[in-house]
Amino acid sequence: MSEKACRIELQGSIAWLRLPGSAQLSRRSFLEMVRRQLDCLAAHDDVRGVLVCGQGGTFCTVGSDGPLTPPEAARLAGFGQSVLFSLEALGKPVVAALSGEITGLGLELALACSFAVAESSARFGFPEISQGRLPAFGGTQRLARLVGRSVAKQMLFSGELIPADEALRVRLVNRLFAPAVLEQEALALLQRICTRSPLALRVGAEMVEAGYDIDLKTACLLERDAFALCFASRDQKEGMDSFLDKREPQFSGD
């Protein structure tokens, strides 16, 4: 399979990462492709934010890896987890724009983004349980932390797809848009984000992640040190100067 199935398109400082909507890649090939694209996005400082979306009204479809032995399955899970960890730790805001049915690996990938928006007709779920399969790329853990244990169990046990308004209510997605305007609304949202300080965006997202699974007091201590470090940056001077001068900031990210 060629990498052409997964494209990066640059639009100013924003990169669209278009997943192969209908190409039937194996999960391993798909994940290897995503990893290469992430390496590329991480290396380009001029890319300030990433918009992950599908093609042709489908967010992401992957095929089968064929029969796997238990060690092969564990290796695949470990590899996929490392790819999605690097997505989570990209250091740039990543917004997922979701359309169609977002299931399996596609939903696991969306869960590793900064947050997701979706078209109002989208549906979400992990139907693979009917074939005895569970999310293996961090999906069970990210889902439970985001929507709570009860909703997560309901989704995993039943394999049912939930509609978009339900996904909004349980916090799986942050905003819904009409299908025709999904991509332009997601772009506008990310463009607004990308006018902010890249350094503050990165540190803020890292703090949310780093402090979530530890006790609040220790987490606040981490935050205190990260806050102090902001005052050694150009972004802080530019942010506050421009605020006081009532002009738009020009952040450099350092």
Partner: protein
Amino acid sequence: MPYKKMRIETRKRVGYLILDGGSRFNKLSVTAIRELKRAFTQLEAADEVGCIVLSGWPGESFAVGADIGQMRSFTPLEGLQFSELGQSLFEQMERCTKPIVGALNGITMGGGFDLALACDIRIASDKALIAHPGARLGIITGFCGTQKLPRLVGKSRAREIFLTCDSYGAAEALQMGLVDRLVAADQYWADVITLAERIATMPSRSLTWAKQLINLAEDTNLQSGCLAEQAAAALCGSEYLGTSKSVCG
């Protein structure tokens, strides 16, 4: 010693701590934070107070962050000290044995948002406008917001709030779980008073334990939390026996 940035009024067992710095926005300057610490110490010690209301009512703002002009020239060490001061206020509010109702009457931004997060309950007027615009200023918050907000509204919504720096109206704040109640402006203060006076009539020992047990639930495994709950039950039970109050009607 009188307060410059706020005033305290006590009526019917409710202590109203009203932020009023004399300007449009109630800024969380070093002076304001020190005064807040002193005010909470005073209210905690006051036997006639059973519940505390923190608000900027009837002003335009609840509270906003620090003075940007002052913060502009902070060194990293000064940033650290400022964060320490703010975090010590929020810890004091969490440890305070009396319930603190945050009455978000209007603009609630940055450090003011974090002040609201340190309250036990948030009740918003439909004039409330909430934002965390640190990334617009080239900073993150140092007042526990990056930690408390994800725990309150989930990581994805917290990231959206921090990344976009957008302002959210009261209805959206209610839907996200940022605030617990929303009241129309003309009815607002009357409802705040009703809620606070109701809480203030409850047995103070039970209020203290309820607050501490819920705060404990945040970071404790279930078994340890349940053990603390048993201890609370024993202590509250002995209080009922001692005062011959009937718990069964």
